[in-house]
Symmetry: C2
Subunit: 321 residues, 2 copies
Amino acid sequence: MTTLEDYLEKNADRIDKVIHRYFGDVHGDLFRASAHLLLAGGKRLRPAVVILAADAVRRGSSDDLIPAALALELTHNFTLIHDDIMDGDVVRRGVPTVHVVWDEPTAILAGDVLYAKAFEFICLSDAGDAAKVRATKMLARTCTEICDGQSMDMAFEKRSDVSELEYLEMVSKKTGVLYGASAAIGGILAGATPVQADALYQFGVNSGVAFQIQDDLIDLFANTEKSGKDRASDIREGKQTLIAIKAREKGLDLAPYRRDLTGAEIDDLIARLEDAGVIDAVRATAVERATVAKEALSILPQSEEKRLLAEIVDYFINRSF
Amino acid sequence: MTTLEDYLEKNADRIDKVIHRYFGDVHGDLFRASAHLLLAGGKRLRPAVVILAADAVRRGSSDDLIPAALALELTHNFTLIHDDIMDGDVVRRGVPTVHVVWDEPTAILAGDVLYAKAFEFICLSDAGDAAKVRATKMLARTCTEICDGQSMDMAFEKRSDVSELEYLEMVSKKTGVLYGASAAIGGILAGATPVQADALYQFGVNSGVAFQIQDDLIDLFANTEKSGKDRASDIREGKQTLIAIKAREKGLDLAPYRRDLTGAEIDDLIARLEDAGVIDAVRATAVERATVAKEALSILPQSEEKRLLAEIVDYFINRSF
C-alpha cells in the first residue's frame, strides 16, 4: 500500500521531469521568465489530483494524462506570477518573484504565456476530442472564477466587515475551483460520467477551501522557518481571514493588532483567540469542508487512488506548513 | 454584390450586438473593466475574417460561428488591455484605458478574464469536437506567439540596429498570427482540410503584416484627427518601424528626429524619406505581403466571401486611418 507521502513524492518527480523537458532549456527572456517559478519546485498537488482523479475513474496507466496534469500546474503558476505583481510580493518558493527578477511587463507576459500553454497542454492529452472540449471549457470557466476570487480578495483589503459567506465565496474562487477543475478534468479525460465529474469537482472545490483555511491557521501558528512566511502576517496586515471574521463574531476585535507584533504579543493573542473559541471554530470549518470533500468521493468505486484522494484532504487540513 | 464597406459595417453591427448581450450589463468592477474596451467599439476586423474564411470554405449561414468570431475579438482585446499597461498608454478607441479608469491590478485581471472567455467561446461554437480541439490548440499557440511579439517589440525599444528580418518576425507575431488564427479557425470550424486551413493561416499572417506596415505609414502621414494618433509619434519616440529600418539602410539617420517635431519639420522629413526612396520601399513591402496573402487564397473555390477576403487585404494597405 502506497503512503500518500510516497505517492506525492513520486508524482512530483514525474511532473518535475516533464517541466524540465519543456521549460528547462528555453531561450529568451520571456520564456525564461515563464519557466522561473515552475523550475523553483513546488509540491505539484494539482497534477497529483488530476492523475489520482483519472485513476479513480478508470484504473490503469495515467501517462497519457501527464500533459493535462501539467496544464493545471501551469494555470496555478500563471496566477501566482500575476498575483505577485498585484500584491507586490517579492519572494515565492524561496526565489525572487518574476517581476522582481525581470520587470512588470515581462511578468505580465510570462503569466500570459503559461496561460496559453495550459490550454495547449490540455489538448495534448491522449483523450477523446469531446472530453478535451469539456476539459477546455471547464479550465476556461475556472480561470474566470480565479480572477474574480483574486479581485474579491483585493477588494476585501479595503473592508473590515467581510462576512463568513463572502470569505468562503472568495476562497472557493481563489483556491477551491482550481482544485475542483483539477479533479474534474482528470476525471473527464479518463471518461468520467457527468455525475462522476461533478462529484470530483465538488471534492476538489471543498478540498481547496479546506486547504486555504488551513493556510490561514498556518500563518498564525507556523514555525517561520518551515512556512517561509512571517508569523501572523495576516493579522498584522488586517487581512479578512476566517480567523479575523470568527474573532469579530465572538466580540474580539483584531484591529488593534494591525501593527508590528512581538512574539510574546502573538502568543498572547493566540491564547485569547483560543479562549474565545475562535481557533476551534475555524478548525471546525476546515474539517467540515474536508468532510464534504471526502463524502463527494462516495459515488466512486473503492480503489487505492480514491483512498489517496481522501488522504490528500486530510493532509491539507493537518499540514503545518 | 456586397461592397466590403457594407459587409464590414453589417458584421460590426452583428458582433456588437453579441458583445452587448454578453458584456453590456455585467456586474462588479472586474467584469465592467473587462467589458470597457470591448464596448468602446472597433471595426471587428478579426471576427469578419473568421466568418468570411468559414463561408469561403463552406457556403451557408455562419451564425453558428459567431461565438468563435467573438473569441478572436476577445483575444485581441485581452492583448490590448495588457499592452496598454506595459506601454503606459492612457487612451485607446477614444476612451481612457482600463488601467487608467481602474488600476493596474484590475487591468491585469480584466485581460485575464477576456483570455479565459476567448477559449470558452471557441468551445461554444456549433462545430465538431475535433475541429474545436484544433481551433483551441491554434488559439493557444497564437497567444504564446503574440506574447513573444510584444516582448520583442519592447526589447526593440532599447535598440537602434533592428534588422528588417527581425522587424518582420516581430510584426508577424504581434499582429500577423492573430489574423492568421482568425482565418484558420474560421476555416477549421467550417470543416476546412488541413491544406485549406494552412492557406487561410498564411493569408491571415501576411495580411496582418501588411496591416501593421500600413499602420507605420499612417503614423507618419495620417491626419491626426482621423487616426487619433499624434503624427510621427513613432519617429519622435525612436521606434524601430520598417520606415526607420529602410531609412537606415539608405543612409538616412532618423536619430536626430527623436525629439519634439514641428509640422514643418515632419513635412520636411517626409520629403527626405520620399526622395531617398524609403516610402516607396516600405509601400512595396506592404504590397508584397498583401500579394502573398491573396495568392494563398487561390486554392479556395471562387465565391463572394473569397473576393471579400481579398478586398480586406487591399483595404488594409490602402486605409488612411
